[in-house]
């Protein structure tokens, strides 16, 4: 077997027989997102991305001229997917309790399905060291989260209380992802989520 016959790492880890072939740009983004969610923005390099796909770093620059462009594209895609999943999960929900449960479940799945924290949780922490365009996209994600949560709050609450509780829910779940992943204990996330839901 020649070296060329060895499949790039992405395929060894993330695919199975019958999988559709994602295009190169998509695979690059999958690989980069995973690295960032595990180790942060600086944990991804064009060279390592290229190696994972079996191409050269110059080819990665064809898809994303600068690293900053990759970062923004990742946050945008992540945000779209997150809210798509959230809306689907919250579709039948009629009560504030059900909406909040759907919200918590969406974050839980983000954590467990990737065994990594939220992309924006990581980039949000690193925000001061990131290109402006990236940290700006992250802030947009958080603002959208807060707006969704405010709308999901019980109708009786006054606006100030809604805002305060929305901040609490988002903060608690983001922190719970970090803590749970750091301590390698999903019960940490579940415990925090339970208290969040009980506080409604």
């Amino acid at each position: 077997m020649t070296l060329a016959a060895v499949k790039p790492i992405y395929w060894q880890v993330n695919t199975q027989v019958g999988d559709q072939v994602p295009d190169t740009r998509e695979i690059l983004m999958d690989t980069a997102e995973r690295s960032i969610r595990l180790g942060g923005y600086n944990a991804v390099s064009f060279r390592e991305l290229a190696d994972a796909l079996g191409i050269k770093s110059a080819s990665v620059h064809y898809y994303f001229r600068k690293k900053e462009d990759l970062g923004v594209a990742l946050v945008d895609r992540y945000s779209q997917r997150f809210f798509a999943v959230l809306e689907k999960r919250a579709d039948g929900a009629r009560t504030a309790e059900a909406l909040l449960d759907a919200y918590c479940q969406t974050y839980r799945t983000a954590l467990t399905s990737s065994d990594a924290i939220c992309l924006c949780g990581m980039l949000g922490a690193e925000t001061s060291g990131l290109p402006d365009a990236v940290s700006s996209a992250v802030r947009t994600f958080f603002r959208a989260n807060l707006e969704w949560l405010v709308d999901a709050m019980p109708k009786g609450l006054d606006p100030a209380a809604k805002t305060a509780r929305a901040s609490h829910v988002l903060a608690a779940l983001q922190g719970a992802m970090m803590l749970s992943h750091n301590m390698d204990d999903i019960s940490v996330f579940d415990a925090a989520a339970e208290v969040v839901k009980a506080g409604l």
Copy 2:
């Protein structure tokens, strides 16, 4: 004025007339801690540290042989200081409410006095990309936090409820620091902290 007469950045920013002179090792740690808390572990380099003090990077290696050693020393010092401040603040506290308020206040001060998130919040997020010794030290910090919180819970609660609420408090405050700093809005932290305290 010669170039040598220009004081290194640390002194321009962090000192005032009458300040005691911290030793080089301490200043290096102050500078490194600030960089990490703003941009993450990879945001600090031996060269930039050296520049900030007006020395050479080889001299930084005299104090910390490897970057990993610096990381561990930072977490240990941070942890000691955190609990020293916490114990002082919680000194007169007799009720669970007072203890929790002291705990929240300690985190709030960590955020506002540095305009940066918790050192361990940052390193906790990046944990998968860090040297084992560093992420291990961070985990120790979190475990100590949870133990302190469990002990601070109302006596009536059963052990499982104490553990769950402790996880929630730590997660919520860590997330609140991240979110508040990212959105540059201290009211986000305060709102989350209020809900945390009200939930007791």
